[in-house]
Symmetry: C2
Subunit: 250 residues, 2 copies
């Protein structure tokens, strides 16, 4: 058994700074092929991948991602979409009813688009590339869809930037495995469990520094008072709901 793939998976880092080197087309095709080879519902492939490489367009797309610099600096930006439009076109051309313009299939497409994305990420990293996911794709789904000219039935689900790494960040901390794994049934968390599971995390010097810089008492407050506020989530969630209705997927 070849341990190298597993080592690549266990030692990966998110990479936000890339060299000027372009990704050769055959390498990009191999990465995409790995995404396409991954599991998908009924082998209907209800996803599409939009590649942004043009410099000017990356700068415009960057603005829609809250100006995160990776979008303009990476050689390749991929926006992976749930897409029932192509399959519907196929059905329309074969005298079959169009059945996928609803919430169930948005959900299936969301999962399938993400499976495809993550298989691409694992492939890319195994080939020496670095990637970064951008959650802003959901917050800004409607203007991003307009920018990419997505028709009804197509919803952007993930965005990743990809390029050859110009940095090798430290491996980031994770909760201990027992925090996220439950055997047979879900075991809810007592206050003591929470203290125990988050202890190492909260003790990290970089986390302490982050808390101090954010002028908060602890990491939980950094997240919910500063970084991911509820009022923002409600606005973004409402916008996303309106958008999926507009795309005829709710």
């Amino acid at each position: 058994m070849d341990r190298k793939l597993i080592e690549s998976l266990l030692n990966r880092r998110t990479v936000r700074k890339y060299t000027e080197e372009d990704i050769p087309q055959d390498v990009l095709n191999t990465v995409i092929e790995a995404g396409v080879r991954a599991s998908n519902c009924g082998n209907m492939q209800i996803y599409s991948i939009i590649v942004t490489k043009d410099k000017q367009r990356k700068q415009e797309l960057c603005k829609l991602h809250f100006n995160q610099p990776m979008v303009r600096e990476a050689p390749v930006v991929l926006t992976v979409c749930a897409d029932v439009n192509r399959f519907h076109k196929y059905c329309q051309n074969r005298n079959a009813p169009v059945s996928y313009n609803n919430f169930l299939w948005l959900n299936v497409g969301t999962v399938d688009a993400t499976i495809c994305t993550q298989a691409m990420c694992d492939a890319a990293e195994s080939l020496g590339l670095g990637i970064c996911y951008l959650g802003t794709v959901t917050y800004m789904a409607e203007p991003i869809a307009e920018f990419l000219k997505l028709p009804k039935g197509v919803v952007p689900i993930t965005t990743i930037t990809m390029g050859y790494p110009k940095e090798k960040p430290e491996l980031t901390e994770r909760l201990p495995l027992q925090a996220v794994v439950h055997y047979e049934s879900y075991k809810d968390y007592s206050a003591e469990d929470i203290n125990e599971l988050y202890k190492d995390f909260e003790d990290l010097p970089q986390i302490r520094k982050y808390i101090e810089e954010s002028r908060q008492e602890n990491l939980a407050q950094v997240f919910t008072n500063v970084r991911y506020k509820k009022e923002d989530a409600l606005v973004f969630g409402r916008n996303y709901l309106e958008f999926i209705k507009k795309q005829d997927m709710f």
Copy 2:
């Protein structure tokens, strides 16, 4: 660069039949660790993994997955959930506001749970295991959540069965890459495009046989008249929506 890594990703097959061999705990832990190492929003890890190994419980869970035999025959079944409950418990214990019980964070959790799942699948396959995704987890989200004792804030997103392969299926067909990849902006499909892109697929002997057995004229009709009917999708979608409301995630 080691090509073996990418070969595992490009040559994978979904495996539905498994040997009697159990997955050693250290191998399972390595697989889960690979899932946890993958990207996740803000490093908050808003997902949980429920492991079903008990024989009796696999049989009960199997019924909830429309009796698909993989669920009772695989040594390990993993149900990966979007989970804001743990993070909320952390916030409550740190005097921070609870902010994630809404549709935006269900969507983030759906993507993050799926990223984690697919990294586990890639890890498992690189270690000689086989996996199969079960879409039934969404159709049956509520009874599955009851069975796994999922509290509010926790929604099952993916289920995979995992074990050592007792079969090596043929590599399944995919659409040509140009069917799913768009450069710079989405290029919609003409009738000619559809014919061209689906041609090889429709000509496959196994697909022709499948169409004949289903007593339909073509593959599109097999999908939308027989396998994935609109009326079923509307019922399952409505049930899923009611369920995510009940879990306080909409």
